[in-house]
């Protein structure tokens, strides 16, 4: 019977008394009356039929559990309110020192003397672990005749094969004989073993287990090279990351974890890591309903979005409101917005490296959610135990079904639906080889007018094979294919029914090698080749009576290649650099027709000279150049560092869009002989600091970015199905600079972050001819220039189960081109416009709140549940998405449109099993 649970300062005191109860029921009652949750395998307790009697008054959990588990092989580990039970082995509450380089401050909650457990004779109950698969036999020493010694001394050191650093506090045990030892700070050990066969096993948190059969003949030496393994204890990972912002050599990175993002209230309760990204400094979008991110003043087409290495061209559904990624299958995204590692290239602004989870190889698991717009499900299916697993995720919107069932005739012949599916398969072939295959498909269909249907889809397939050659060399071989396409079907009353569309397909082969010569260098190098195949547009008649002619803009093909090398070099304890060099190369390939224009004149019909034909795989034009990726970090103290970086890039693919934001009919155009590649260089400098035991992180980072050959269009350009698109395109310069401030609190009841960015993004189009000039050839603010940007994300935990979250954003209104007057023309009144982006729409601000309710964590429950109740835009602010002017019956009126102008409540049910 639990009589009382009281919290005094930090320690919870529990009063409990039992006579003849089994352990399980004691744990349950502790769970029910406190916030403590136990994590263990049921079978551990089932074996233990022993009943015990306990009687505690105001005791700590520690005391109670010590007593409870006294006569069992169970150990326990208390982490905040989680109690993790383990059989035989002990969970260490600190990572080996130097594991994440540099000293880790102790946050000890409970510490056990390791040597005690080594001699505990309970090791026979061994579970099926993978380390028993393959045991290497090692012979030590030269047998001497007449040896009477009972034991021999074996010594050596243990190092981490990833970075060759020593592994301290690692336990080496001979289980059957009950002999063990622990490595010292430098990874050295000594153990006395009897002659003959001994099986040595290494045990340490975060390190893959290894067993070696050691035949002892005499004293000798044996060294171990071990591989890191992050234990599946979420908190450990978080702690490990705490120093990361200070210590990481690469400047300007952000990491968003899909699971962690679940508490942040978002529109319609849909988890969206891309939208969470916009809460971080330097990352914005043009507004609600705008696809694509603007990162550090870059255009939306300058981000390389990768899903398990394969490019995703449009990672959103329904005009950017939802992400086209299953939230349960997505592990997270790493965003490189400053220095981009040399292995990535082809986009100027940022890399969004999205990864999917690896399936559980032991247990069937599932996760799902039911929300007001979509439902999600993700399953993890073990195929071969401990070796391979399949993950399947699916998501769909029910809007189409709802539309059809509505009585409103205006709505029920409209369509709006989307779905996405994702699957991956991971297979660990052996210790040195593993494989991951991922496939993703997302699909959108909607109708804006009654007689047309828009449709777009993304498809990506990626394969990655990881191979370890030896302790110092490993390789990653990747084969990726991506496709994006859209089409519009038009079925009107006239004889011009049609279907038009666009498609891009790319296949990439990439080989990345890692070489770790010693603990100071981490070198990666490799090469990649990407073949593009673009169908820039086609139109086909629909139905037999349509007089639309088949038009197909000739295909575009190109090869993009790169050689890269990068080194993460620790020059001293304090000073480290991450330097990379990438040579990028682009070849426009036939079969194609090159259009030639008079040199030195604007490209138009009058200067068009004719065409040159190229056969299949003929090289039409090549571009390329070296790209430098350099970043340096100096640690003044373990909690304070300064980082600087320089980067330059090429981009050979451009979006064609004459709207101010991305729309689903934007097409991607490859660089050709008339359109040059975009280029950019970025300088950044930042200071990073952690304080109060890494609970707080603060950083200030500044950047300056110059770019050239940024694409824009002549006013009123026709983009779709234009065979001579270069006559509509102008290319100009861009410059962006900014200062980003981030304060983050990681632990405690209140956690979250506050970000502020001051930034500018400007463009200049100053061609030789009037038609190639915008705003008289002067710099003007880009469509996504928002000088002030404030974000606040805060979570407050009431109890283990209840938490509330808040999300506030403020941004300067984006620039807009306003009409400045009217004129009469052809018996009507029309408006004419100001200089490009001379004005701004009103500022944007929004507050969202959410309440999260976790279901209880009883182990017997079929599913763990999680409710999310949120209100998006609580203030009901009608944030203008755009301001536009309509001439109605000869009168010009200004309107502002907003997408979510009212508070939007939603409730989502998540479950996990």
């Amino acid at each position: 019977m639990i009589t009382s649970v009281s919290a005094q300062q930090d320690t919870v005191k529990i009063s409990i008394s039992y006579t003849g109860s089994n352990i399980q029921s004691i744990l349950h009652s502790i769970e029910e009356s406190s916030n403590y949750r136990f994590y263990y395998l049921e079978e551990w307790l089932e074996d233990n039929s022993e009943t015990i009697s306990v009687d505690f008054k105001d005791a700590s959990l520690d005391e109670i559990l010590n007593k409870t588990f006294e006569n069992t092989p169970l150990n326990f580990y208390i982490l905040n309110e989680k109690v993790i039970l383990s059989q035989n082995n002990i969970i260490y509450d600190e990572l080996p020192q130097g594991y994440f380089t540099g000293p880790v401050n102790d946050t000890i909650i409970k510490s056990e003397v390791v040597s005690e457990s080594i001699y505990t004779p309970v090791f026979y109950n061994e579970d099926n672990s993978r380390e028993s698969d393959e045991i290497k036999t090692v012979r030590i020493g030269k047998e001497k005749p007449g040896n009477v010694r009972k034991t021999f001394k074996l010594r050596g050191y243990v190092e981490n094969s990833n970075n060759n650093s020593p592994i301290p506090n690692l336990t080496l045990i001979e289980r059957t004989k009950g002999i063990g030892t622990v490595t010292d700070l430098n990874g050295n050990y000594e153990i006395n073993l009897p002659p003959g066969i001994n099986v040595l096993e290494t045990v340490a948190l975060g390190i893959e287990k290894q067993r070696k059969k050691v035949i002892i003949y005499n004293d000798g030496e044996l060294n171990f090279n071990l591989v890191e393994r992050i234990e599946q204890l979420e908190e450990v990972v978080v702690q490990g990351n705490q120093k990361k912002n200070v210590e990481e050599e690469i400047a300007g990175t952000n990491q968003i974890d899909s699971e962690e993002s679940k508490d942040i209230p978002l529109v319609l309760g849909e988890r969206n890591i891309l939208s969470v990204a916009t809460k971080l400094p330097g990352i914005t979008n043009a507004g609600e309903g705008a696809t694509g991110l603007n990162i550090r003043g870059g255009k939306t087409d300058q981000n390389l979005v990768l899903l398990d290495n394969a490019v995703v061209y449009n990672p959103t559904h329904f005009f950017g409101i939802f992400q086209a990624l299953n939230p349960f299958v997505t592990k997270g995204v790493k965003i490189y917005k400053g220095n981009i590692p040399a292995e990535f290239g082809g986009r100027l602004s940022a890399v969004l490296d999205i990864t999917t989870i690896d399936g559980n190889t032991e247990k069937f698991k599932g996760e799902g959610s039911i929300g007001p717009v979509t439902s999600n499900i993700a399953l993890q299916i073990p195929i071969v135990k401990d070796t391979s697993s399949l993950v399947i995720g699916a998501r769909g919107a029910y809007s189409d079904w709802v539309l059809r069932s509505l009585d409103n005739e205006d709505l029920n012949n409209k369509e709006a639906s989307f779905y996405d599916v994702v699957a991956n398969y991971t297979h660990k072939l052996n210790e040195n080889n593993s494989l991951k295959v991922t496939g993703h498909f997302s699909n959108d269909r909607f109708s804006i007018t009654a007689d047309s249907i828009h449709h777009y889809s993304n498809r990506s397939i990626s394969l990655e094979w990881n191979h370890k050659f030896n302790e110092k060399n490993s390789g990653h071989f990747q084969l990726n294919n991506s496709q994006y396409k859209f089409d519009i079907g038009y079925d009107g009353p006239s004889n011009n029914d049609f279907e038009l569309g666009y498609g891009i397909d790319e296949t990439e082969l990439k080989l990345k090698m890692n070489y770790v010569p010693d603990s100071l260098h981490f070198i990666d190098y490799g090469l990649s080749a990407k073949l593009y195949d673009v169908n820039p547009g086609y139109i086909e008649p629909k139905g037999s009576s349509s007089s639309i002619a088949n038009v197909k803009i000739p295909k575009e093909r190109a090869l993009e290649g790169a050689l890269f090398i990068g080194d993460n070099f620790k020059i001293s304890d304090k000073f480290a650099i991450n330097a990379g060099l990438r040579y990028s190369f682009f070849a426009v390939l036939g079969e194609t027709i090159e259009r030639n224009y008079q040199e030195g004149f604007p490209r138009n019909q009058d200067t068009f000279l004719g065409t040159t034909s190229y056969g299949k795989n003929d090289i039409v034009k090549t571009y390329g150049g070296p790209e430098i990726r350099a970043s340096a970090r100096y640690l003044f103290t373990p909690d304070f560092s300064i980082k600087a970086s320089y980067n330059n890039m090429y981009q050979y693919i451009h979006t064609l869009s004459n709207t101010t934001t991305i729309s689903p009919i934007d097409t991607w155009k490859l660089t050709d002989s008339n359109i040059r590649p975009q280029q950019a260089e970025q300088y950044s400098l930042g200071i990073f600091s952690n304080f109060e035991d890494d609970n707080y992180e603060i950083s200030i980072e500044g950047y300056l970015k110059n770019s050239k050959n940024i694409l824009d269009f002549k006013t009123g350009a026709r983009i779709l199905l234009n065979e001579q698109i270069e006559t509509e395109v102008i290319q100009g310069d861009g410059r962006a600079y900014g200062l980003e401030f981030l304060l983050r609190k990681n632990k405690g009841r209140i956690n979250g972050w506050l970000g502020y960015t001051y930034s500018r993004s400007e463009l200049k189009f100053d061609g030789l001819f009037t038609e190639e000039r915008i705003n008289g050839g002067n710099y003007f603010p880009s469509n996504y220039d928002k000088p002030h940007d404030v974000s606040l994300v805060a979570n407050y935990k009431f109890t283990r189960r209840y938490s509330a979250s808040l999300n506030f954003s403020y941004q300067t209104g984006r620039p807009i081109t306003y009409p400045i007057g009217q004129y009469s023309f052809n018996n009507s009144e029309y408006v004419f416009y100001s200089n490009r982006n001379e004005f701004r729409i009103p500022d944007y601000y929004r507050l969202d709140i959410g309440i999260n309710i976790e279901g209880n964590h009883k182990i017997k429950k079929l599913a763990h549940s999680f409710w999310n109740i949120s209100i998006y835009n609580v203030l009901g602010r009608a944030n203008p998405y755009s301001v536009f002017f309509v001439s109605e019956q000869g009168e010009v009126k200004a309107y502002k449109s907003s997408i979510f102008g009212v508070p939007i409540p939603s409730i989502t049910y998540n479950f996990k099993f």
Binding site: P493, I539, S547, T715, P819, G821, N826, F832, S897
Partner: protein, 432 residues
């Protein structure tokens, strides 16, 4: 008692179940409407404005005196165009002919002689304004000709499911390869005043400011035809078609106009004249951008606007931007007639644009204070005031004279006099 209560609880529960289903559906509908329609509201904004020169010049292959209209851009708070007077306007062609224009009224310049644009010949517009600035257009021509073969009317529904009459067009290429078309139409329709009677009020020498007011009032027979009139309106939207993606330059079943069934212009007899202009690619895209910039957009796609440059440039100042377009086009037109009963045989007529069922009996005379801004406004306007400002027409006399009510029943003027809506002269082309 108890049993009954229980029963009613069951019933309530049932209806609650039904309700919750409806609520769920409404919630979904709410989300969808929010998502699909967004939210559009008026926006207050004051902006500076420019006064650029505006060129509105269309030269066609019709033999006539052509017209060039010059004006200035003006701010949104002004109601009307600022005309550009006193300019010197001429058109030159490739064959070195010069066609001079003379200003006939403020900003409207008409060619001194009749002439027609010839296929394949380039024309340039040249203007010098009274402030001494020189402007000239690029050389423009038309290369193709197309004829409207047929226009036809059909009853049908539009994309918003509204019943009405659709006007379709079919054309034939005559010469060249016409690819870009712009349409305009003129509509003429018969109006019959629903409350027309032969008699009318006659009020002369009315002076409401005298006390008591003075007047000469009588009931007379109408001396002017005010029963049947002909309304006229022109298209205000930009209607464009391109056959650029088609095999042939022929248009079949192109919808040029939809008239909702409840529009009164369909009421009796209706005629439409459709004009087709074969445009150059440049002119087509100019109009297309003009339309894109001014029509209501979808919430999600926001076309990048900018200063829309036409083909006229300043000779003195390269920074000065000129609005408008000088266009050379071939034209073809065709007229169509139909009556309401052709498509709506036994259906009631659309409503007259004013509600004519309400009759009034205003008191004959009411004391009126002329400086009404300082006094409370008069309670009700008298018959004489209503006649004087043209608000009412005669309907009948009444015997039953109650207090404060006058001796005549009146109708709104527009119900008894169609000349407020159109001309009472039958157009020359009219065919009954």
């Amino acid at each position: 008692m108890v049993f009954q209560r229980k029963n009613s609880e069951v019933l309530n529960w049932d209806s609650m179940l039904g309700k919750s289903r409806t609520i769920a559906r409404c919630v979904f509908a709410f989300y969808l409407i929010v998502l699909i329609n967004g939210c559009i509201e008026p926006h207050d904004f004051t902006i500076p404005n420019g006064n650029n020169l505006v060129i509105d010049a269309l030269l066609t292959d019709e033999l006539k005196r052509h017209e060039v209209v010059l004006s200035r851009g003006y701010s949104f708070d002004l109601d009307s165009t600022i005309v550009e007077t006193g300019a010197n306007v001429k058109i030159m062609d490739d064959l070195l002919n010069e066609y001079s224009f003379t200003e006939v009224e403020g900003g409207r310049y008409v060619s001194d002689n009749e002439f027609e644009a010839k296929v394949g010949v380039g024309y340039t517009l040249q203007i010098s304004t009274k402030d001494g600035s020189l402007y000239s257009s690029s050389s423009e021509k038309f290369d193709a000709n197309s004829q409207i073969r047929n226009i036809k009317a059909e009853r049908g529904i539009n994309s918003f499911d509204k019943d009405g009459v659709k006007i379709f067009l079919e054309n034939n290429a005559l010469s060249g390869n016409p690819q870009y078309f712009r349409y305009e139409y003129e509509e003429t329709y018969k109006i019959i005043a629903p409350k027309y009677v032969n008699l009318d009020f006659k009020l002369e020498n009315y002076d409401p400011c005298k006390s008591p007011d003075t007047y000469d009032f009588s009931i007379v027979a109408r001396d002017e035809q005010q029963k049947i009139c002909y309304g006229f309106q022109t298209s205000s939207e930009i209607i464009q078609v391109s056959t650029q993606n088609q095999n042939e330059s022929t248009i079949e079943n192109q919808l040029v106009r939809f008239i909702p069934a409840d529009d009164y212009i369909l009421s009796h007899r209706y005629s439409i004249l459709v004009k087709q202009y074969v445009q150059s690619e440049k002119a087509y895209s100019y109009y297309k951008s003009l339309d894109d910039f001014s029509s209501s957009e979808s919430v999600f796609t926001d076309v990048q606007p900018g200063f829309l440059e036409g083909n006229v440039k300043s000779e003195n100042n390269t920074e000065e931007k000129v609005l408008g377009l000088f266009e050379v086009a071939s034209v073809s037109s065709k007229r169509l007639f139909f009556s309401y009963t052709d498509f709506f045989p036994d259906e009631p007529l659309p409503d007259y644009p004013f509600k004519c069922s309400s009759l009034a009996r205003p008191p004959v005379s009411q004391p009126q204070v002329c400086n009404s801004s300082t006094f409370p406004h008069c309670r009700e306007r008298s018959l004489y005031i209503l006649i004087d400002d043209g608000s009412v027409a005669y309907w009948s006399e009444t015997e039953n004279q109650g207090c404060e009510a006058g001796p005549y029943i009146v109708v709104p003027r527009v119900c008894g006099d169609c000349t407020l809506l159109g001309s009472n002269e039958e157009p020359e082309f009219w065919i009954e």
